[in-house]
């Protein structure tokens, strides 16, 4: 017997047949199909019990009610809360993506101390001790007024706690970042007296004359504005949009009126002039006018005649007259200020001029008009007890009127104008104009404490970071503001245990105060921030904690006097800085956030490539201005502040002579320790290219833009 080729053939066939008859083939086919349909590296969400928790979103001043869907203890989705008085079930894209902030790669995971150019993790006890020691030194030197604080807003218990700490420490230097709320307060203070604010009844007005307010670009309380705009057609209400660019709001309006940038105030006063000249004003309302109404009327007739205004604004005189008549004759007219989101630079001249239109047609505190309301005062803090040092320090003048002047003073003085600075919920090194000089000022302040949740541009400049919980991890009262026609206080509640070693900023302030001992500690005798909140909201706490919100007031306020003394002096209009031919203006885009916070990775992904292509920012300009530059071509944009590489988007919706650059890009979250590649290093920060222009009289930074030139890259 010889083993030959056939034997091997038999062996092979036998093996094949044996395997074929065995279950191997069938089983492996089945298993591999299951494997390929459930790749082991694809994350599978853990199953669990579904629950919903209601809270309030505090990503922007909109203060929408949210419902957070949870699987066991893990929040998995944010939805709008039905029947909430602000947003009634609606929610914006930043709100639904809010969960991404919990796990943001730029989140600060524990208190940090700067050592050279690096941050070191330290314990909370050490961090609070370092801050308290430093502050005690400043107080010992008898310079308590050299402690300053910058927050995002005036209202709310956390801001109030910072204010209280400063006051009992002995410093008047509490500042807020410019916001629509601050402009509403400034306008109300100038025209109706201190302690008041303005609200706009957009959902009832039948003729909205918007001076660039991005009603659907995130102005005011965004979701509430979306809803008011959506109901406009059913209500047969008209929207006239006056701005240099065909924004989404302008495209959605009944009429878009392109205007030369920075001339809105002149147009508003021109419209006032027409209304006065044609006796279209409400004589009952003008009885309330104080502070030189006749002088104003005379100035308007002399300086703001339609033919003159036509030259300044680029709008035909006949159109100006028509618009004024339409506005005055409408049943419930409403003029709205605050360009874009309303939190960019504004001049008091513009704010007051637009609001004077409301005052002239007599829609103040009437349905569908502008409401002049007292500021929220639902918080009842116990009276402060102050020692001699704090009394003397607190009585001193503020270093600067607004945050811009503070920065200017710090940069100008050779001795530290500010010894220590607290920054909470604000990112001045990103969102103030000429961010380079803001960073320079931060460099000159010996001790900066940031309460940021993220290692943003300002936190990077800090010496100590006491990281805060995000809005999903903390308890906080959230008063509505932003021009909403009703006053609502919501309660943000923790929906998840803190992901990192962070604290509620209210608790951090209380700990610092306690560590400072003496009369300061006496003013902060609460165990925790939660105790404090319950205590200071005692009148409304039960309904606030049970229902999640309290409606403080709804509808118009009482009749009020109108002071036009600022305008009757005929203040000069703001001119853009520089000598170049073109004007660069910032553009607000709903998909981005232009306050200090960066948009979430999800939101950034929704930005169109006419705004951001790869990592390159795209600017908008009219083909008539292009002068040989082509669409999608790279160019160099130069302003007196600096230059940058940009991509061109030729867009006939932009007025000739104007260049638009989106706000909210160009974040630099990357450091040696961490990076957030999803949002940082994309585009440029428009605030780097625009310098502040301070309006005389009001002290506001009113730089609506800056002169610029564009050349081939």
């Amino acid at each position: 017997m010889k083993v030959d080729r056939r034997s091997f053939l038999g062996l092979g066939l036998g093996a094949v047949a044996g395997i074929a008859v065995s279950p191997v083939g069938l089983k492996l086919t089945d298993d591999s199909s299951i494997w390929t349909q459930n790749w082991p590296w694809t994350p599978v969400p853990v199953d669990g019990e579904v629950t919903y928790e209601s809270s309030v979103c505090s990503l922007c001043p909109g203060s929408c009610g949210i419902s957070v869907r949870k699987i066991d203890e893990r929040p998995v989705k944010i939805e709008g809360l039905a029947d909430y008085p602000v947003n009634d079930g609606g929610v914006c894209l930043h709100g639904i993506a809010g969960l991404q902030y919990l796990y943001d790669p730029a989140r600060i995971k524990s208190p940090l101390k700067k050592n050279g150019d690096r941050f070191e993790e330290i314990s909370w006890d050490d961090a609070i001790a370092i801050v308290a020691d430093k502050l005690a030194d400043i107080r010992k030197k008898g310079l308590p007024e050299k402690l300053a604080c910058i927050t995002d807003k005036e209202q709310g218990s956390v801001s109030e706690l910072f204010k209280r700490l400063l006051k009992t420490f002995g410093s008047p230097n509490f500042y807020t970042m410019p916001s629509l709320e601050s402009y509403l307060d400034v306008t109300a203070a100038a025209m109706h007296g201190e302690g008041k604010t303005i609200a706009f009844d957009l959902e009832n007005s039948d003729f909205i004359l918007s001076f660039g307010a991005g009603i659907i670009e995130g102005w005011g309380s965004p979701v509430s504005c979306f809803k008011a705009n959506a109901s406009r057609k059913e209500r047969h209400a008209k929207l006239y949009q006056i701005e240099s660019r065909l924004s989404n709001t302008a495209a959605n309006a009944d009429k878009w009126i392109p205007i030369k940038p920075g001339t809105q105030a002149d147009l508003a006063l021109g419209l006032c002039a027409v209304i006065l000249k044609n006796n279209l004003f409400d004589s009952n309302a003008t009885v309330n006018f104080k502070g030189g109404f006749n002088k104003l009327a005379a100035t308007l007739q002399k300086e703001y005649a339609p033919s003159k205004i036509a030259d300044i604004t680029g709008i035909k005189a006949s159109d100006i007259e028509k618009m004024a008549v339409l506005f005055a004759k409408a049943k419930m007219p409403l003029a709205v200020f605050g360009q874009g989101r309303g939190d960019g630079a504004q001049s008091l001249k513009e704010l007051a001029a637009v609001h004077t239109l409301n005052c002239l047609v007599g829609n103040i505190n009437k349905k569908g008009g502008a409401f002049v309301l007292p500021k929220n005062d639902y918080l009842k803090f116990p009276d402060e007890s102050m020692d001699g040092i704090s009394k003397t320090g607190f009585a001193k003048a503020k270093t600067g009127r607004y945050v811009n002047q503070l920065i200017e003073k710090v940069n100008a003085s050779s001795q530290p104008a500010v010894e220590a600075l607290f920054v909470y919920n604000a990112n001045p090194c990103y969102s103030l104009h000429d961010s380079k000089s803001v960073k320079q000022a931060f460099g000159k302040i010996p001790f900066v404490v940031s309460f940021s949740s993220f290692l943003d541009e300002t936190a990077k400049e800090a010496d100590i970071i006491l990281p805060s919980h995000t809005f999903l991890e903390r308890l906080e009262d959230v008063p509505s503001g932003s021009g909403l026609a009703k006053s609502v206080v919501g309660l943000t509640k923790p929906v998840i245990e803190p992901v990192f070693n962070t604290k509620n900023p209210g608790d951090a302030v209380i700990l610092i105060a306690k560590a400072l001992e003496g009369s300061i500690a006496q003013n902060f005798e609460w165990e925790t921030y939660e105790d404090c909140l319950e205590n200071i909201t005692s009148g409304i706490w039960d309904s606030l904690s049970e229902d999640g919100h309290v409606v403080i007031s709804e509808g118009p306020g009482e009749s009020t006097a109108v002071n036009v003394s600022f305008l009757s002096k005929n203040p000069a209009s703001i001119q853009a800085q520089g000598d170049y031919e073109l004007t660069l203006i910032p553009i607000d885009n709903m998909r981005l956030i232009n306050a200090g916070m960066a948009a979430s990775p999800f939101a950034i992904k929704t930005v169109s490539d006419t705004v951001l292509t790869g990592s390159d920012i795209v600017i908008e300009m009219n083909p008539l201005t292009a002068k040989g530059l082509k669409d999608k071509e790279f160019a160099t944009l130069t302003t007196p502040m600096g230059k940058t590489r940009v991509m061109i988007n030729l867009n006939e919706g932009m007025m000739p002579g104007v260049i638009g650059m989106v706000e909210g890009l160009g974040h630099t979250f990357n450091t040696k320790n961490m990076s957030n590649k999803y949002v940082s290093g994309k585009g440029v920060n428009v605030n780097d290219l625009i310098g502040p222009v301070i309006e005389s009289g009001s002290g506001l930074d009113a730089a609506f833009g800056i002169k610029a030139k564009i050349s081939k890259a």
């Binding site: 017997m1 010889k2 083993v3 030959d4 056939r6 034997s7 091997f8 053939l9 038999g10 062996l11 092979g12 066939l13 036998g14 093996a15 094949v16 047949a17 044996g18 395997i19 008859v21 065995s22 279950p23 191997v24 069938l26 089983k27 492996l28 089945d30 298993d31 591999s32 299951i34 494997w35 349909q37 459930n38 082991p40 599978v44 199953d47 019990e49 579904v50 066991d72």
Partner: protein, 223 residues
Amino acid sequence: MSETENKTENGSMESAGECTAGDTKDDKGLGLGVIFFIVAFVVCFLSGTLLFPKLLYSKKKQPFNFDHALHVSEAGDCESCHSLREDGSFSGIPKLATCLDCHAEDPMGETEDEAIFVEEYVSKEKEIPWYVYSRQPDCVFFSHAAHTEANGMDCVTCHGHIGESTSLKPYEENRITGYSRDIWGKNIFGIKKHSWDRMKMDDCAACHKKETGHQGYCFQCHK
């Protein structure tokens, strides 16, 4: 011209004899081939049937033993622990919190398993990482409530008599898919004697066909 034709023309007997001898040799080769075939067939078939499952599945021990029978006698029926939530979804393997409804910080009984339970999980507030015999791929939607509540099916129909067991069998994990052997069934040929022997899609379809007259549509489970 071929060799055979040449030889026939020559009329050589020798060559004919050689030819016969050659045939005999061929037969022997074939015989050996058949033997090789049979041997290889048997070896491969047995390997595929007996050895293959041993290679395919890895045996894993549960964190500690669990006595279903004891718990059923103490706590009542299956639903005492494996309950439906208010929204109708199935809670599955109970969380530690459910265990603690009856168990306390101190061990109940003196078994080693109870000691592990208390020391490793209760005192550390850690969930017990049970291996789940009936876990199905994530791409399948299955409602327990629709089967047990709405149609009165018994747990045993799919899960067998696990409620009467006093110990947990080792968990056999499929090395390719990561799922339990119980889904395909213990029998590697996929032959089942009882309704709970397998939990494959065909088993769902067969039961649906029998009970409702239709095997169901893809999207009913693969949403």
